[in-house]
């Protein structure tokens, strides 16, 4: 039981770790990583039931563990490598979706993956072997999209993020919405999630979103 207590104390840190994307956009009292996990799991459940053939237990477990690595790895954003320290310049940078050449994309993806993999291994090392392996396998599935659950949740996770971005934009007029839409139209391809996003658009933009 001692290892479980230690594990849950470490995981509890996620309740007070703010999501970095909101910090760089100067959002007041931004949501924590645990806040994001909570709603992403609910989304996986509700939207996952509308998808035929998904294994619900696997999907929900994946949702629960997908960001645990951030206890040690911290949260990352696509802007991290191009973000100036000066807050005025930073505000300009976040107005555009950051685009990189193929080699930069490859390097960034690999760096993030390796960092998070190491962090997860460190976090789960004291858990019973079966549980440890299950968590590592679920995370790998989420990262690489090895099963229908992995591929679906990879996108559902980002939908939660997108919804939060629009909620903040409505409340604080930031983060800038342009880059989010630019990214979303390239990123999502799951028909159910695209339908959900169109519904989100109608909610936040009203008539402007009709005909999407």
């Amino acid at each position: 039981m001692k290892n479980f207590v230690n594990f849950f104390i470490k995981v509890g840190k996620l309740k007070s770790m703010p999501r970095r994307g909101w910090v760089i956009n100067e959002i007041k009292n931004p949501e924590s990583i645990a806040d994001h996990i909570f709603r992403a799991t609910l989304m996986a459940w509700f939207l996952g039931t509308k998808k035929k053939g998904l294994k619900m237990e696997r999907l929900l477990k994946m949702a629960l563990i997908h960001d645990l690595c951030e206890v040690y790895a911290g949260d990352t954003t696509p802007y991290d490598s191009v973000l100036p320290k000066d807050s005025k310049k930073r505000r300009e940078v976040v107005k555009k979706w950051p685009r990189f050449n193929f080699f930069q994309k490859l390097k960034l993806k690999k760096q993030k993956h390796e960092k998070e993999k190491r962090a997860l291994k460190r976090l789960v090392k004291e858990l019973p072997p079966e549980l440890r392996r299950e968590i590592e396998n679920l995370w790998m599935d989420y990262e690489e999209g090895l099963t229908p659950e992995g591929r679906f949740f990879k996108q559902a996770d980002r939908v939660e993020n997108f919804l939060q971005a629009l909620e903040y934009w409505k409340k604080y007029k930031k983060p800038p919405q342009g880059p989010w839409w630019e990214w979303a139209r390239e990123y999502f391809d799951d028909p159910l999630l695209l339908e959900f996003i169109n519904q989100m658009a109608k909610h936040f933009y009203g008539n402007k979103a009709i005909g999407l």
């Binding site: 090895l146 139209r185 990123y187 402007k208």
Partner: protein, 158 residues
């Protein structure tokens, strides 16, 4: 029920076939031994998948997934000389978006990896770019309008 077709490049198909054969071998070895399986000593085995051997449920799920993909795939082939001017599946498209250049490859949903510039033919941008040629401006409708100017199209698939 409509059958799902998985569009794959030759490279991806080769990779998946190899993985499928390796995992079947792994499953066969597991079934031969009731004891906890020993690590398979193979230089060919992708280390990302080694952990699958330790969990039978994962192993079976991935094998069944790969079987379905291999039975229902369609190879993305280079287009004819005539169609090379147009964006089709497998094309690498240089675009200018909001003053920035990027190269996007149009692939099937299974191979899509937007972080690496591989976007799905079922995504709104992937779908909209299909059929266009250099010089075209493709407008993506969303609450915030985005214009993709096509600067170059090339095919590096075989």
């Amino acid at each position: 029920m409509e059958r799902k077709i998985f569009y794959l490049t030759k490279e991806k198909l080769k990779e998946l076939k190899r993985e499928y054969e390796q995992l079947l071998e792994l499953e066969r070895k597991r079934s031969l031994s009731e004891k906890a399986p020993q690590a398979i000593e193979s230089e060919d085995l992708n280390p990302e998948f080694v952990s699958f051997q330790e969990n039978l449920e994962f192993l079976k799920a991935r094998i069944s997934e790969l079987k379905e993909i291999l039975e229902n795939h369609q190879l993305i082939l280079p287009p004819s000389k005539e169609r090379c001017r147009f964006v089709e599946m497998g094309a690498k498209v240089t675009v200018e978006v909001n003053g920035q250049r990027d190269e996007l490859m149009i692939v099937g949903t299974l191979e899509a990896n937007p972080a690496l510039g591989k976007i799905s033919n079922e995504s709104p941008v992937g779908k909209a770019l299909l059929g266009h040629k250099v010089g075209d401006e493709v407008v993506i409708s969303s609450p915030v309008k985005t214009v993709y100017k096509i600067k170059a199209i090339k095919y590096e698939i075989s």
